[in-house]
């Protein structure tokens, strides 16, 4: 019985450890990672590139895509798609000038050998909603932080429980 409880308590310990290590603001991605995603977009086959976004005229697509982005993409690409530790800036010219079909192709296939997982687990319409959101970013500036830190204020420390 003790062994069973210990086995079940282990997840709790891991959860506490993870809680104690709240992520710091993401660092800039390595240049090689940036290049690999941008280069991969260029590899999209002509047939995939020519695909049109069926939700192009859907007024809800951008809003839905934004929620999907926060849930599945912001961890690597940053909250405003400005780039994170693992994923490159999706506001970059290479992405914004890419055909919607090419972005959809990358979402579907990932860049598995370079760390980006396949996202075909999201149904096709949701991937197109993500494309709509990403393409909408070209016209938007990066949102400033809600409360800019004052120079005299101490740097924000991550919450630690351990």
């Amino acid at each position: 019985m003790k062994a069973c409880v210990a086995a079940l308590a282990l997840p709790a310990v891991l959860l506490i450890v993870s809680q104690g290590l709240v992520q710091n603001p993401a660092d800039a991605p390595k240049p090689k990672q940036k290049e690999s995603l941008y280069a991969e977009i260029a590899k999209a086959p002509e047939k995939a590139r020519a695909k049109r976004n069926p939700l192009e005229t859907d007024s809800q697509a951008v809003a839905a895509g934004r929620i999907l982005f926060e849930q599945h993409c912001s961890e690597c690409h940053g909250d405003s798609a400005e780039g994170g530790k693992k994923g490159p800036n999706l506001r970059a010219e290479e992405i914004q000038s890419a055909a919607p079909g090419a972005i959809f192709w990358i979402l579907t296939n990932g860049v598995v050998r370079r760390g980006m997982p396949v996202w075909s687990k999201l149904p096709e319409p949701q991937r197109w909603q993500l494309v709509s959101y990403l393409k909408s970013l070209g016209a938007q500036p990066v949102a400033p932080p809600a409360t800019p830190p004052s120079p005299s204020a101490p740097a924000r420390q991550p919450t630690r429980f351990l």
């Binding site: 062994a3 990932g110 997982p117």
Partner: protein, 292 residues
Amino acid sequence: MPLVRTALFLALLALFLPLSSRAQESPYIVTYDHYLEEPGNLEIEYFSTFGTQRAGNNFHAFWTEFEYGVTAWWTTELYLAGQTTFHDSTILTGVRWENRIRPLKREHFINPVLYVEFENKNGADKILKEGEGHDSEADFLTPNAQARREHIHEVELKLILSSNVKGWNFSENILAAKNLSNSPWEFGYAIGASRPLALKASAKRCTACPQNFAAGMELYGGLGDRYHFGVRDTAHYLAPVLAWNLPYGWTLRVSPGFGLNDNSHRFLMRWGIAREISGFGSMLAKLFGSTQ
């Protein structure tokens, strides 16, 4: 009661976790699809199986999984399993270490994944995580004290094939398992089909929207062994499956399973709760002072 307290503790702990991601998990409990854990993410899962037993005591088997995405093409997983047989005892039944590797870079109509698992368990294992060989309900009649004396070291290989068609996922798993103590290779299968209840995401944040639910069906069972291959004297189950992807990376799964012949348990009630922790690898790296 300690188990209940532990589960409650985990649930309360989740309320304070800051991550806002939402997992997008399939509803399968036995069948695997071709999706691996995202790199650096840790998923902690607890599963529970209540099983009926003819001519014996019903049981409750449970296991905890720690699933970690090492890379986008390799996921590794550790299982700890136990069971309670009513009017008998509660025991830990073993440990499993599983690895899934995606050999192809891109998505195809059929996507293969290779699965290798090492199991160190005892004869009282009842989690029914797979159907294999000539396993049958009668094997579960042995009292725990006697069954736990049997030590099993087993290697299990699976070929996972999975396709997506118009929002549906179709997955087929073919299994070959070898008890390392000079037993023949045993075989089994699992087939699953599932689909989210809605394919488009809502433009509003919601928890009970149809896109957060996925439903489907699993069929799994044994295929005999090297000397007696086929469905004769094997157990088979049909199980509807339902998953609810909740905020903060939680997923709830429920699956009532029905035995399809006299070798099968008549009824298996399974449920599971999982939580995905995004960026766990980076957090650990920071803990140990790595700047990556």
